[in-house]
Symmetry: C2
Subunit: 238 residues, 2 copies
DNA sequence: CGAACCCTTGATCGTGTTCAATAGGCGTGG
DNA sequence: CCACGCCTATTGAACACGATCAAGGGTTCG
């Protein structure tokens, strides 16, 4: 494995036209003519877990597409309290405030090692007005972000914590043979997502394990032995 | 006052080019040429307080601009629990899911008597791809909705309820002479906004009044005798 | 004038917080 | 490679906040 001294490493310029996640990304619908209009370089970057990608208040010059890993979008309130407003999943766009104003409205931190593309805002604002295909895609991505934020809000912040955790797992779980695996993050981060303290997350995990809803709790993941059972629990509770 | 038998009344076709709130609305930047491309009628409607405007799951054929009053955007979770994900303020767009998919993702209800414009989605999807001005405005409105949703999330759902209520008042307060007035809604609705029961809202209001942070609590509004005091409270608590 | 609805208030209970102590991983340096 | 130390996670006990159940008081509208 490479030694990375600074927290992020430049991986080269992206070849968007042949990108492996292009179908789910911003440039999904672009044609060759559109691509020929892109002149600024789109950089391909990787960050270590817990590295900061941008800070609330920074001048917003680029938006980002996440290729893999997870990112937290953190909002700092005027009283200094923090709140995670959204988790970015692979294929999602973030830092879209760049299209609107001068500064980022939130901070973005890597939750895991991540790999992402940085797209200068001028590419989008010029191309967006010329290409109906990109226009459509931008509107779609904005919409997805809004829906994700709202569903996060509605589902991850309502009810007893164990139920919220269950919904959280169901959102992130990946099937793997007869069971599924969901990622865990630092307990404090998970607390910030659900407006709860880290001790409470810990206790809730323990209690869910006792009930057989999850197993093999580690620092970084849980196993879900029975997805259907968890789904029931997330709806009815207990 | 007019008697309105059905819950909403058609107020005529909108004259968008001369709309009084046009500067803050979707069509702010359009020019005469753009307007000439609008063929479907944009209706001007009014609804009584508590009327439903559209329901989660309805076929999404139009988006809306709120002219005056307040609207709640309600999300119903799979377990039947409800949550208010956003309050629409005058000048805001809502029902934008129409641009993305087939169905509305939430339900919209009037919190007060409201006055709004209904814009068929085909106007936007065709015009949006032809007019860079409208494109820019759509992206902007979409971004505003996302930021509002996220700040709602972050500020109205973190901390003790009295603090959350304080932030809520500060968001909605209108200055009026030496003091300010903030609207109140049904206690149950306020509870749905903050993930709290109506009794708790009631108690919090009483306690804030005792502390001199608010006064003259009625069914529909509170007075804020000292905005600066409330602002302090919303940051430091007590 | 009465009825429905909403808001308020009280008492008790449950959930999450807080403070504190302990245990477990992981990386570093010997 | 092991031992130490730091950081994070877990667990416990007392406490605070909001939920719940229940009763009473106000408004509004027919």
């Amino acid at each position: 494995m490479k030694t990375i001294e600074i927290k992020n490493a430049w991986q080269g310029e992206s070849d968007c036209e042949n990108c492996s996640i292009r179908s789910s990304a911003l440039f999904a619908e672009l044609n060759e003519e559109d691509f020929s209009k892109i002149h600024s370089p789109i950089d391909d970057l990787s960050f270590e877990a817990y590295a900061g990608i941008y800070q609330q208040g920074d001048k917003a010059g680029s938006l980002y597409t996440l290729r893999n890993g997870y990112i937290k979008i953190l909002h700092i309130n005027s009283d200094g309290s923090e709140r995670i407003v959204r988790i970015v999943l692979p294929g999602n766009l973030f830092g879209m405030e760049a299209l609107l104003g001068e500064a980022y409205e939130h901070s973005a931190y890597a939750l895991t090692n991540v790999h992402l593309c940085r797209i200068p805002k001028n590419i989008i604002s010029t191309l967006g007005e010329e290409s109906p295909r990109l226009h459509r895609q931008i509107v779609k991505k904005w919409g997805e972000a809004l829906l994700q934020s709202e569903s996060w809000f509605s589902e991850i912040n309502t009810g007893r914590i164990e139920v919220r955790l269950a919904r959280f797992f169901l959102k992130l779980a990946k099937e793997s043979g007869s069971f599924a695996i969901a990622p865990l993050f630092k307990r404090e981060d998970m607390g910030l997502m659900m407006d709860v303290k880290c001790e409470t997350i810990s206790r809730a995990l323990a209690s869910m394990a006792e009930q057989g809803l999850i197993s093999n709790i580690t620092r970084l993941s849980v196993q879900i032995p029975n997805l259907e059972l968890l789904r029931q629990f997330s709806k009815r509770g207990v």
